[in-house]
């Protein structure tokens, strides 16, 4: 019984990965298509898959430390996403958003670490 559920989960994961690869290789975002090259739209979809992994870990994490790690990772990924957006649109204020997001992600991670240690903020 255990063996069968294991095989079933493997088959479901394989189906999910192959459907995600098919989705990445065929689709583009229609509303953004006037400034979007095919390569950069693939970049967007791969980064969105990474976001989905992080959100899954935030949803399922057994301990609060797992969720803190996933939030920190999500912040660093959004910096890369803003960099790809600034290449494809050619506007420089996306990189400003990336710098500000990196700053607030760092401060948020330090605050979460303090909270996990169980100390107050003024010690």
């Amino acid at each position: 019984m255990q063996n069968r559920s294991k095989y079933l989960r493997w088959c479901l994961g394989l189906l999910g990965v192959s459907s995600a690869l098919f989705f990445i290789s065929t689709f583009t975002i229609p509303s953004l298509s006037e400034w979007q090259s095919p390569f950069l739209s693939r970049c967007f979809f791969i980064l969105m898959l990474c976001f989905a992994f992080c959100l899954w870990r935030i949803f399922r994490g057994p301990t609060p430390a797992d969720r803190a790690v996933a939030v920190d990772t999500l912040g660093i990924l959004i910096v890369g996403f803003c960099a790809v957006l600034s290449i494809s649109t050619g506007r420089s204020w996306y990189i400003d958003i990336a710098i500000a997001w990196a700053l607030q992600s760092f401060i948020g991670a330090l605050a979460l670490a303090k909270y996990l240690e169980g100390r107050g903020f003024d010690e």
Partner: protein, 111 residues
């Protein structure tokens, strides 16, 4: 030529991001997940930003991207180290096949 170098760096960065998030899903423990995500995702995002610098040259986007690289390299290991220390103090157990725990021994010696 610059665009080819930049796109190559962006592809390397995307592969590193992908493997880091796969490690976040698949590894068994908080500390293993932290090790996978911090190294892979930091290096991957810095590689994407370096690709941006290589494509755009030294205009507004490139200079801001280089500033962002320096900031990420300085701050991401600090945040990861603080998170792992907080997780260990809050009492998260290691994986049962882990080999050694130097921080726990150190706390016992100093007590």
């Amino acid at each position: 030529m610059n665009e080819i170098i930049g796109y190559a760096f962006i592809i390397i960065g995307l592969v590193f991001d992908m493997f880091g998030c796969l490690g976040l899903i698949r590894l068994p423990d908080v500390y293993n997940r932290l090790q996978a995500t911090t190294k892979c995702v930091t290096l991957g995002t810095c590689s994407i930003l370096f690709g941006t610098l290589a494509i755009k040259g030294f205009d507004a986007i490139g200079i801001k991207a280089s500033m962002c690289i320096v900031f990420l390299i300085l701050t991401a290991p600090v945040a990861a180290h603080a998170l792992s220390r907080g997780a260990h103090i809050s009492g998260v157990k290691l994986w049962d096949k882990s080999v050694c725990d130097k921080y726990e021994e150190d706390k016992k010696v100093n007590r």
